[in-house]
């Protein structure tokens, strides 16, 4: 397969952390390719390095060795500003613990990425269309009536759907989900997975990390991470 077949490609990724005097190797030469429109699940036991790999793929963290290429461009060559833009426009993150800002309403949380990428004047010029898009996303996610609520007033499933809405706000090419159902009961978790399946059917590329193989089966491809390598 050529590089051009992959939207995202990770080559020989190594990552270790220092725990006191000891150096803990989390990733030991991971090679991974994600095709456009693919729904990829990364499965592994707790502590296998799934989340670390996801953070490196989304440029939230840097590998000690190896490189990540997005559409053929090596992220290690990106400047800080380019990486910020990458995180803002190219990828969308969905976290296990939702990570919404409690000070903002549901609607504000959803359009936050659009606001973050613009100056005050830029935002004033496009705020109507951004709010419209945020409302549409909330409607698609079944949260129209929750737009003005605060995150702490919502259930876990609702919060995760808000987080998905926020991740999709800037129409990212890649959606990265870290244990998106890990904090939800199975019925609510299934609802979230249905949202992912629907998005994927619409062409959204998704990389999802989970320790639960039953959930991983919803993906179009599953890879397993063990001992810091793809098994």
């Amino acid at each position: 397969m050529n590089d051009s077949d992959f939207i995202l490609k990770a080559e020989e990724i190594y990552k270790s952390y220092r725990l006191g005097a000891a150096e803990v190797s989390v990733l030991r030469g991971v090679d991974l390719g994600v095709k456009k429109g693919e729904f990829l699940a990364i499965v592994g036991a707790s502590g296998s390095g799934k989340s670390t790999l996801l953070h490196i793929l989304g440029a939230l963290d840097r590998p000690n060795k190896g490189n990540v290429k997005f559409e053929g461009r090596d992220l290690s060559h990106h400047t800080g500003r380019e990486l910020n833009k990458f995180r803002n426009k190219i990828v969308g993150f969905v976290f296990q613990f939702y990570h919404l800002l409690d000070e903002l309403s549901v609607l504000e949380n959803v359009f936050l990425p659009a606001m973050a990428s613009r100056s005050i004047l830029g935002w004033l010029a496009c705020r109507r269309c951004a709010k419209k898009r945020a409302r549409e996303l909330l409607a698609e996610l079944g949260l129209s009536d929750r737009a003005n609520h605060k995150p702490y007033q919502l259930s876990g499933g609702e919060r995760q759907r808000v987080a998905i809405g926020r991740a999709l706000m800037n129409e990212p090419k890649l959606l990265l989900a870290d244990e998106p159902t890990g904090n939800l009961d199975s019925a609510t978790g299934n609802g979230i997975l249905e949202v992912f399946e629907k998005l994927n059917r619409a062409g959204q590329t998704i990389v999802m990390v989970t320790h639960d193989e039953r959930i991983a089966r919803k993906a179009s491809r599953i890879i397993t991470l063990a001992d810091g390598k793809i098994a």
Partner: protein
């Protein structure tokens, strides 16, 4: 835009933010009140000294005085920068109410009331002859008697609220004023005969300069008679000081400089003449230098207060720093979230700096409003405290202070406001910078625990 929204929400939804807000407000409140009262007292004290002295004085501390003053007075009167000139005899005397055995040591000033009112605010300090200073030495009860103007605290007693009880007209009191006349060489003029000159004057008016020392120990006498009493009338007439008032458009330093030049020229012309050596001791001083001994103590107190409030300001910066540090520690998850959404380090600093600015701005506004309101009512509050608890900031029976100064100086207000806002910004810099160094992955993981 998200920075503005989040900064506002952090300020209004976090209880800990209220602490920072209140710390700023309280600090500004206290600083405004103390600075206004202290600055008011110092300004008032300086103003009273200025009014008492005029702009500039030429003279000598020596009780012997100096001669040829008339020529110099004429020279000054012709100068284009001078508005008023008043030669003054200044010495010490014993006064004794006629018919009693009591003697009181006082300072005497021999003045021409019209001239002295032209060079200083003497006329405005009078009570009975306020509208016509030329009659200051005319006793209302008998204009033919030689009058004297007495410092108010020598005649009247202040009540607990600092008020005087004025009589409709001055009481007929005769005072025997005794001086030691001095020759031009500083010897007692009448040695071997009557060494003390004594004259009787009648209490004609009171002078209220607002300066405790002067109001408690000064007696004004008619110029010629004071000159006679002090032995400064012959063979060459002498005075101790010449008080000068400059025209309104003349700067103090400029006026003093010109006066000094004139004096040097004048003294040079007189060199070699009789008693010319006395001219060498004459100095030209601005009112500030002349009253330095009195003003300096007050200015030092003022400076001390400023230093103390700089320390209060530093404490506030530290409080803001601690509060922001705590807020940022609590908000590390938010920083991780924002970074995961592509927010730059600069914008994280911007967010917390904006929060600090808002805290400083709103806290300062509250502090200023509170301080202003308190100052507006400060005298009423003091009255109320006095009526109910007999509490007074200054014992009015002792201190020559009327109302507590409460005129807010907008320059001081502006400086305090800006300092408070900048202090908040300074307190936010380190925690904000630390916030940018947070690893988003770590902050997001820590908050999962």
């Amino acid at each position: 835009m998200y920075k503005v929204i989040l900064a506002f929400r952090y300020l209004f939804t976090k209880r800990i933010s209220y602490l920072a807000f209140l710390a700023v407000a309280l600090c500004v409140f206290i600083v405004i009140i103390v600075m206004t009262v202290m600055t008011g007292l110092v300004t008032d004290f300086k103003q009273k000294n200025h009014s008492f002295v005029g702009d500039c004085v030429v003279g000598t501390e020596s009780l012997v005085g100096f001669a040829y003053y008339e020529g110099f007075v004429r020279m000054l009167e012709q100068a284009d920068f001078v508005e008023g000139v008043s030669p003054v005899i200044k010495s010490y005397a014993l006064i004794s109410p006629v018919g009693t055995e009591r003697n009181i040591g006082v300072e005497i000033m021999g003045i021409d009331p019209v001239r002295h009112s032209g060079a200083t605010d003497f006329g405005k300090t009078l009570y009975y002859r306020k509208d016509d200073a030329s009659r200051a030495f005319e006793a209302i009860y008998d204009p033919n008697l030689p009058g004297c103007v007495i410092g108010i605290d020598r005649v009247l007693v202040r009540d607990v609220k600092g008020r005087y009880s004025f009589d409709a007209s001055p009481a007929r009191i005769a005072l025997a004023v005794s001086c030691f006349p001095l020759t031009a060489k500083g010897a007692l003029a009448g040695a071997g005969t009557a060494i003390v000159n004594t004259s009787t004057f009648y209490y004609s008016d009171i002078s209220r300069s607002g300066l405790a020392r002067e109001d408690g120990s000064l007696v004004y006498l008619p110029f010629e008679q004071a000159q006679l009493l002090c032995g400064m009338d012959e063979p060459l007439k002498r005075v101790n000081w010449i008080h000068i008032k400059f025209k309104p458009n003349v700067r103090l330093e400029q006026g003093c400089e010109k006066t000094s030049l004139l004096w040097r020229k004048f003294a040079q012309e007189k060199s070699g003449q009789k008693q010319a050596d006395l001219l060498e001791k004459v100095t030209v001083q601005s009112w500030r230098d002349y009253r330095r001994a009195f003003i300096a103590a007050m200015e030092k107190e003022h400076a001390m207060i400023i230093v103390m409030f700089v320390l209060v300001g530093i404490t506030t910066v530290f409080i803001i720093f601690v509060v922001l540090y705590m807020i940022i520690s609590h908000k590390s998850k938010d920083i991780g979230i924002l970074k995961s959404l592509g927010v730059s380090n600069g914008n994280v600093v911007g967010l917390f700096s904006l929060f600090a600015l808002l805290t400083g701005f709103s806290g300062s506004v509250l502090g200023i409003l509170g301080g202003w309101l308190f100052l507006l009512k400060i005298n009423r509050i003091e009255d109320w405290l006095f009526e109910h608890f007999r509490f007074q900031l200054w014992d009015r029976a002792i201190y020559a202070i009327g109302d507590i100064p409460n005129t807010v100086d907008f320059k001081v207000l502006g400086v305090i406001f800006l300092s408070a806002v900048l202090a908040c910004l300074a307190g936010a810099i380190v925690p904000s910078w630390q916030a940018t160094r947070l690893n988003p992955v770590e902050t997001l993981q820590v908050n999962q625990l």
